[in-house]
Subunit: 596 residues, 2 copies
Amino acid sequence: MLMRMSSLFLRTLRDDPVDAEVDSHKLLVRAGYIRRAAPGIYTWLPLGLRVLAKVEQIVREEMAAAGAQEIHFPALLPREPYEATGRWSEYGPNLFRLQDRRENDYLLAPTHEEMFTLVVKDLYSSYKDLPLALYQIQTKYRDEARPRAGLLRGREFIMKDAYTFDIDEEAHAAAYQRQRDAYERVFSRLGLPYVIVAATSGAMGGSRSEEFLVPCEVGEDTFVRSPGGYAANVEAVTTPAPPARAWQDLPPASVEQTPDTPTIASLVDVANERFPRPDRPWTAADTLKNVVLAVTAPTGERETIVVGLPGDRDVDLKRLEAALAPAEVEAAGPDDFARHPELVKGYIGPGVIGPNGAPRDAEGQGGAVRYLLDPRVVDGTAWITGADRADHHVFGLVAGRDFTADGTIDVAQVREGDAAPDGSGPLELARGIEMGHVFDLGTKYSQALGLTVLDANGKARVVHMGSYGIGVSRAVAALAEIYHDDAGLTWPVAVAPAQVHIVATGKDETVFAAAEDLARSAQEAGLEVLLDDRRKVSPGVKFADAELLGMPVVVVIGRGLASGVIEVRERASGDRREVPVAQALGAVQESVAAAG
Amino acid sequence: MLMRMSSLFLRTLRDDPVDAEVDSHKLLVRAGYIRRAAPGIYTWLPLGLRVLAKVEQIVREEMAAAGAQEIHFPALLPREPYEATGRWSEYGPNLFRLQDRRENDYLLAPTHEEMFTLVVKDLYSSYKDLPLALYQIQTKYRDEARPRAGLLRGREFIMKDAYTFDIDEEAHAAAYQRQRDAYERVFSRLGLPYVIVAATSGAMGGSRSEEFLVPCEVGEDTFVRSPGGYAANVEAVTTPAPPARAWQDLPPASVEQTPDTPTIASLVDVANERFPRPDRPWTAADTLKNVVLAVTAPTGERETIVVGLPGDRDVDLKRLEAALAPAEVEAAGPDDFARHPELVKGYIGPGVIGPNGAPRDAEGQGGAVRYLLDPRVVDGTAWITGADRADHHVFGLVAGRDFTADGTIDVAQVREGDAAPDGSGPLELARGIEMGHVFDLGTKYSQALGLTVLDANGKARVVHMGSYGIGVSRAVAALAEIYHDDAGLTWPVAVAPAQVHIVATGKDETVFAAAEDLARSAQEAGLEVLLDDRRKVSPGVKFADAELLGMPVVVVIGRGLASGVIEVRERASGDRREVPVAQALGAVQESVAAAG
C-alpha cells in the first residue's frame, strides 16, 4: 500500500477547528482524518477511514477468536420490537424516530438487543443450539442532547455489539468471561490502556456489568480505584450503611428559630454561635441536607422527590440518573416548588414538621413527595435539619425515632479518600473514556420477546443473554487522545494509516527518485507507505505535516543523500538516526518493529 | 477459515418464504443468508455477510486500481445541502425525512452528490488538486413505494458511489472512461454477465449516462439491443423523427359522426366499414391516440397533460416518468377529467375542435392542457383522431396544417422489431437488473454548491463532476439470480462464502476424524472451508443443505472411506469423482481452480 501526498485527498490545517474542545478532536480534524458533517456526525476522510478499518479488523479477529459469529442488522428498524421491550418510549428524546411513506413508525437503532433476540428466536429452538455468540460492527444512532468532543460522543457512530445466548446462568458466566478476555486482547492490541470497573447497567437491565475505561482527563466517566484493587464507575460505587445506633439516651429534638440560614454554611455558623456543642464544633456533616429534584419518566411524567443526605455532600446527578434510569433528572425548578408549597426553600426537613408547625404528613412518611435517604443516615443518627418552616431548623432530629423515609438512595458524591466499599482502602478518583461494556442481560430481552429453547427434558427455558459493546469509532478518538504530543498524532503501528512516512525534501530529482525507490521496496516488503512526493512544498511544511499526521516511522531523504545517508525518525520517541541509503529498508523495518 | 455446521448460526428452510417472488430472494432466505427485518430491509446472516464482504472487497480493489480514494460519509445528514440543490423536495416521498430533538430537519441519504461536492469544496481550491476520484461503500436509504424482490429493490441497501472531479469536460471524459473500465473489471471478477446500455440520467442531471445491466428475466429494467451493437435502457431509446411531408395535395379534414367508438379498435372497424380507403384498410397506426395523464411535481402540484401518439402504440409510463423526472406520472383519474370538461373521454383530439364544434383553443395550441406529440407525428402526416366531441372523429387531420402541439415527447412503447435509432437493425427487447450506473454530472452540483477551483491563470472554474454507482447488496441478489439451479445456489468461487463444503456422513467416528483432518489441511492451504460435522443429521439432509448453500466444491466423506476413497463434487456442473483419500487436498484444490 502506497499513498502519495501529491494526490492523497488531504488538507492539513494549522489552526484548531473552533468547535473542538479536546485534543483528539482538534488533531483528527487538523490532520485531515475526519470532518464534521453536522453536530455529532462526522465524515471519514482517507487516513481516518484507514485507522477505523484497522480498529475494526482487530475487533473482528478477536471476536472470531472468542467464537462469535458476525452478522449485520439494519440501522432503520420498525417500532414494534422496541415497543415490546418498552424501549421505544424509555429512550425518550435520545431516539431518532421517523415514519415511512405509509406512516409506519421506524427508528434509527441505538442498540440492537431486540433484533439479536428475535433473530435467535427465529432460527433456534433447542438447548443443543447453545451456546451461541453473535456480533456485528454497525452504525448506531443516538440523538444526544449535547454531542461533544468529536468522535468521543457522536450522534452517528460505529459500535461493535455482541450478544451471547446460553441455557443458564452458569453457561452465561463462561460466555461472559470469554468475551471479557477478548476485550482485554482487543484493547491490548489497540494499544489502549484500560481499567476494568464495576458499572451499573443503565437502561439495559441485567445484573453483572463492567466497563473498560481508558484513563484520560477528557473522559466523560468518573471512576474510582483503591490501593486494594477495587475499581468502579462512580455511578456503581456503593456506600455501605454504618450500623444503626441506639437512640434511648439521645435528647429530644428541638425546633429553633434560625433566621437567614438558607445555606448549610450559614446554618453551621449559627449553630456554633448560638447552640455550641461542648466537645467539638458543628460541621456540615452534622446537618441533614434535603435536596429537591425533578424526575422525568420517559413517558414525560414529572415527579418531585427529596433526597436527604449529610450536608457535607452534594447529590451527584450522574449517580442519581443511573439510579433512576431510564428517567431523566434535574434540580427542581420554580414550577416544581410552586406545585409543592409545603417545601420551604432553604428550610426543608424530613417532613415531620410542616410549614405551620404541624407534620407535613401525619403518617410521617415523607408527605406528598417521595423522600429518599442516603445510606449514611441510619437509625439512631441525630441531625440538624430544616423544620419545614421559614427561618426554623430542628436540632437533634433522630432518624428512626423522629422521622423515616420512603427508601434509601445511594447518590451522594463520591469523594477522593472515601473508603472503598470492600474495605480495600481509600478511593482515588480519575476520569476515563468508556471504550467497552460487558454485561449480563439476564432474561430481560428473552423474556420480553419470548426467546425460549427446549431443554433436554423438552421443557421450555428462557435463554440467558449477555451483551458486549465496543465503541469502534470512539476508539479512534481515544487512540488520538492517548497517542499525541504538541506537534501532532503519534499512532501505534497497529492502527496507523501507514507505518512509514517517507519525506523527500528539496528540489533535487535524485532525492525524489530515491524516495520513490524506497517507497516501492518498502511496499514490496509488505509495509504501508505514505510518500511525501510534493514538489513545491518546503521541508518545514513537510516535516510539520509528518508530525501532525503521526505515522510511527518517518524517513527523511534530502541533502544527506549526496553523501549517501538518509534519516530515520521514530515519531513517538523522537529518536533519529542517519542510515546509509543502502540499508534504508532494513532500518525502516527495524524501526517499525521497534515502534510496534 | 473454517466454519462448522454444528455451530454455524444457520437454519435452512425447506419452504419458500411467503413474501418472496424471485428465485434469488427465495434462495437467499431459504439458505439462511438473509432475513427480512421490515419491508425492503434485511438482516445479513453469517453466510450472506461473507458474500457481501467479498463483493465489497472486489469493488474496493478495482476502485483503488482506478485511482479512487475511499472515504465514508454519514447516512444521517442535515437538510441544508439537499435544499441547496433542490433534492430535498425533488425526492418526494422516496426520501426518509426526520427531525432531531431540536426539530432540525435531517434525511437518510439516498445518494451523496451534495456531500462529495461539499467535502471537495472544503479541502481543495486549485486546478493542481485535480483530477480527483473519491468513493465510499455505504448504506443508503430510499423509501420505495413498492420494495420488492428481496435485495433487488430494498429500502436500506449498500451502494458503492464514486465521484470524479475534473477541470474540464475533456479531463472528465478520461476519468469517466477509467471508471467505466473499472466497472467492466468489477463485473467480470464477480462473474456477473453485463450489458452496457445508454441510459437517461433521471433526477441526477448531467448528460452522458450508461447503465451496466445484468440480463435477467426478473430485472426491473427493460433494455433494447440491435444486431449492430446498439444497446439502451428502454427509457433512453430515442425515436428518430421521419422527414416532414408536403400537405398541398391532401384533402381537407372532415368531422364524421362515429357513435360508440371510444376505443381505437372500434374506431378502426367503423372507419373500414363506413369510410373505406381504396388502396388498403385502415389500421390502428392510422389513428392518433390522445392519452390523458396526470403529472405530479415534487412540490405536489398536479398537472394534466395530453400525449398524442400513433394508435398502435401505448404510452410507456416508465419512459414518460424518465422524460418528466423528477415528477411522478400516472393515468389521469376522474378528478383530472372533471377539472377539464373539454377533454371528452374516448373522443379526445388535438384540440382544434372543441366539445361544441368550436376549437378547444382559438390559438390551436393545445388548449388549457399541455399537448405533446410523439416524434412520429411529423408535419404532413394525416390522422383519424377524436373531434373533441362525443361520438365524433375527424378524418384526414394533418399535422402542421390542421394542428400543432406544445412540444414533442418520446414516450411511446418501444417494441421488439422497432428500428434502432442508429440504423443498426431491428431492436430486441430484454430485461435486466441495473447493477451499475456511470454518468456525467456536468456542473449541476458544483454549480449549485459553489465548487470551483482556480485555474492556471487564477480564474475560478466550476468543477466538472462524474458519478458512478454500484449496487453492492443488489449484486449479491443478482449473483444468486444468475447462479442457482433447482436444488439451490451455485456460487462462483470469487464470492462463495467458502470454497469447499466438506460433508461427513454416517456415524463412523473415523469418517468425522478424516473430515476434520481434510478441513484443517484445506484451511492451512489457504482455503475457506465449511465443514458439516453434525452428528445426528441424515446424509440426505446434509446433501440437500450442501446443494442449497451452494459452495463451489463439495467433498463427501462417508462409507467410501473404508476403501480409502472420498468423493469430490463440483456443485455447478454436478461433476463427481472418487479420489483416494491421500490425494484429497490436491483434488479439492484442483476442483476449486477449475470452478473458479
